[in-house]
Amino acid sequence: MYEFDIITPNSIDAAKSEFDAAEDGQFLAGGQTLIPVLKQRLAMPSDLIDLEHVHGLSGISASGDTISIKAMTRHTEVAADHEVQAAIPALAKLANGIGDMHVRNRGTIGGSIANNDPAADYPAAVLALHATIVTDRREILADHFFTGMFETALEEGELITEIHFPIPEAASYMKFANPATRYALVGVMVAKSHNNVRVAITGAGPCVFRDAEMEQALMGNFSPESIKDGMIPADDLNTDIHASREYRAHLISVMVRRAVAEAVG
């Protein structure tokens, strides 16, 4: 690792001003992605601004039609939260399927979304549930947030503070996990609200994406039969040692059918 200094602010304002004052600052959340990156010398921040002690950055609340999750909330906490389990069980299930128990005890929703790993789970939920990402300076709709591989709409020094998830009528997350890492080889979140259906797919492409054709088909008839094999062309999908693009295309149809079957109940 290259040398760096550490800063442990306890307010959002202090975190922002420390970031601005640092030569090349970087926020540290659960460290489950960032620390391995530092160990491999793939990043060289001058200062790590630790978010752990920042007041008001952790916790879950439910209000009417929305579940709000603060950025520093650990995957373990989302998985075990009774309000999440009651309102959006698919989200609790998703959180409980991330990596392993040790990773879930450290990793945070804010870190996962900011990182936007092409195979991460949370981006699928954020996109399918049409969540709003709240930062220190604005609100960003999910449709505008994930802009590319490991890329988001976040500006330099922009801090995610919380994520608002509208509660859907029904939703389901189905992941075909890489047997070694548990990252999604293909992960699919299907969400239905007021005759609107959103299908978000992670793990299969360079960045989480929605599929309009599947959404249209499911809006016509919210049933697994609406999803045909070959609905998603394989051309733009990832191909690697774990799975070919054709296999991923096949898995997407299978996972969407399973998700719809579960959501229908």
Binding site: E3, I6, G31, K39, E52, D100, M101, H102, T181
Partner: protein, 155 residues
């Protein structure tokens, strides 16, 4: 350099650490508690698992300074003098280890799983050990050990 105070296996220690000192390095090289193993150093294997305020983490994927003020338990903190913790005893009787490299992380994880869920099912144990890799045993004896350890912990 930050000065941190940690409570490791009930003993309070105050030391200066470099910001980039990993918790695993701190435990092994500063505190000389070499029961915590470093297998992969890339967050994959779970040999380095320790328990912080009752929650397991991979100590190779966190910095020592992040645990200023925390209660840390390592494998050395489980036994009561010469009397093994029931989970350690269960690993011994079931041959839940061969080379023993993964064992500290396996046992720390198993204890946490049972503390969180005393009636944990076999499936729960298998899923709970997702983050711990063993190259020797083929896992079956580890599962048997955790089942017996869980029973003994329930008393």
């Amino acid at each position: 350099m930050p000065l941190i105070t940690v409570h490791v296996n009930g003993v309070e220690t105050t030391k200066e650490v470099e910001p980039r000192t990993l918790l695993s390095t701190f435990i092994r090289e500063e505190l000389k508690l070499t029961g915590t193993h470093v297998g992969c150093d890339t967050s994959q294997c779970g040999a380095c698992v320790v328990s912080i305020d009752g929650k397991t983490i991979k100590s190779c994927a966190s910095f020592a300074w992040q645990f200023d003020g925390a209660k840390i338990q390592t494998i050395e903190g489980l036994a009561n003098g010469t009397e093994l913790h029931p989970m350690q005893e269960a690993f011994r009787t079931h041959h839940g280890l061969q080379c023993g490299f993964c064992t500290p992380g396996m046992v720390m994880t198993a204890v946490a799983l049972v503390e969180n869920n005393p009636d944990i099912s076999e499936n729960g144990i298998r899923e709970g050990l997702e983050g711990n890799i063993c190259r020797c045993t083929g896992y079956q004896n580890i599962i048997d050990a955790v089942k017996t350890g869980a029973k003994a912990m329930r008393g």
